[in-house]
Amino acid sequence: MALPFALVVTLAMVILASDMGIRTQHLFDLSRKSLRLAESRSLQRKMERILIAINRPGIESLSASERAFRIDQFDVAISFEVMESRINISRLNDLTLGPQIQGLFGALLKRERLEARALPCAMDWVDADDEPRQSGAEKNDYIGEDVAPRNGPFEMVDELSFVRGFRDVSAFDRLRPILTTFGSGRIYLPAAPDELLDLFEDVYGPAVRNNLDDIRRNPARTIQLPAAVLAPQAQQFLQAMLLSAPTTWLVRIRLSAPTFEIQSEYVLTLTDEAGGYNRLVRIA
């Protein structure tokens, strides 16, 4: 009789001890995570200060490929992506770049088979008036949806998903990687993806695409499109759209340690003035 009793007591003690062990481990992990979080913040601050003061050669050397290094107990990975390789939808209404961006954006919407009203609705969203254009949508069309057009430039890409014609989630997810709301609105060709060149082809024809592709392959070449390819006005239009050196980057910083990982994203806008500080905005 004593043996089963001893067994039961031992088993209960083992269960209790392991349960307490798990709880203690959990509390320990929680406190260690808080400590890592506090340490990572000071490291982030240091990296922000470096980014604010960095110059163009520094960015060019860092942005060649993703860099990974170790600082204290953290593995740090930093990567740069040129924002001027995307269509800047915050410039849809821009006086100089607006028509070109509308052309490329319209071609993208057509390629991704969004509704025909998507572009007019997006234009109505950003223009200052409340008068809808043909097949567009203004304030009155959003009544009952708890949404109203901004009547100003898009501030984040996700805002586009509130606009009529962009409600198809999977189509919107396909658009997202090629859109931005940061940067000058012009395109830096050496960083442009094939998808963007496809859009140039849709708007300006295959000959322009080939020329742009050449420029992309040889970044050192001066951006000059041959006169025979386009009408002078269209060429001027396109020339205004191209950028010889990028000015805005998306910077991703990942800090990881055992049981801990934190990722932050910044938009870095370079100031070429001597002694000037870059503009750095943390977006995630």
């Binding site: 209790l16 709880r23 979080l37 980014l51 959003y142 109203a148 501030e155 996700d158 500080y277 905005v281």
Partner: protein, 217 residues
């Protein structure tokens, strides 16, 4: 049967050479009382362990809530692109608002979030409520109750003249650094009279009234 035991053979009777089977009454009584004593001790130990474990669970849950609150506010301050604004009710500062790049449901947008200490239905305690609305596009705001059972929320700032912390509303201009201090009761007090005597944790966090150093430059 004799007095020596229930099952033991009587003295003087010839032994059969086989060992007697079973226990005597004394042995049984002793073992049962020992078992009862041990069980009582162990039951006390178990009950104590369960209480300790439940207390540890509650403490961990409260720590987690507090850590999440700090993390949520800190991350919004980090992502902010304007300074922290303070909101008053009944001539007392009762909340603050931050404009930041943040999450609104599944979207990443520029958002306007307000953290307010709102009196609950008893009006003796407060709830910390977070209201969020995306900037400029008129989407209906969301409302989350972050903490219940809060008492005496105070916004303070260091005053050199007073050589200590003073309520924010007594200062003419909000300073760069503000201390938010409140009591977080472990259980909801049964009546307003019980509030001061109820156990609580003191929560203190600091709000920097500067935008992130990066965007400031």
């Amino acid at each position: 049967m004799n007095r020596a035991g229930l099952f033991r053979p009587a003295a003087g009777r010839r032994s059969t050479g086989v060992a007697p089977a079973g226990f005597t009454l004394i042995e049984l009584i002793l073992s049962v009382s020992l078992m009862a004593l041990l069980s009582a001790l162990l039951a006390g130990l178990f009950a104590n362990c369960r209480k300790t474990s439940a207390a540890a669970d509650t403490a961990a849950a409260r720590l987690r809530t507090e850590a999440l609150l700090r993390e949520s506010i800190q991350s919004e301050v980090d992502l902010s692109y304007s300074s922290v604004n303070f909101e008053s009710a009944d001539e007392r500062v009762r909340g603050f608002a931050i404009k930041s790049y943040g999450s609104f449901g599944p979207h990443r947008l520029k958002i306007y979030s307000r953290y307010l200490f709102q009196p609950d239905e008893t009006a003796a305690l407060y709830q910390l409520v977070r209201h969020v609305v995306p900037e400029g596009i008129g989407v209906r705001e969301t409302k989350d109750i972050l903490m219940d059972n809060i008492g005496d929320p105070v916004f303070e700032a260091y005053s050199e003249a007073a050589a200590g912390f003073v309520p924010l509303e007594t200062l003419p201009v909000p300073p760069d650094m503000v201390r938010v201090r409140f009591r977080w009761y472990r259980n909801r007090p049964l009546s307003a009279g019980d509030i001061p005597a109820s156990p609580f944790d003191e929560i203190v966090f600091f709000l920097s009234n500067e935008t992130a150093s990066a965007s400031r430059l």
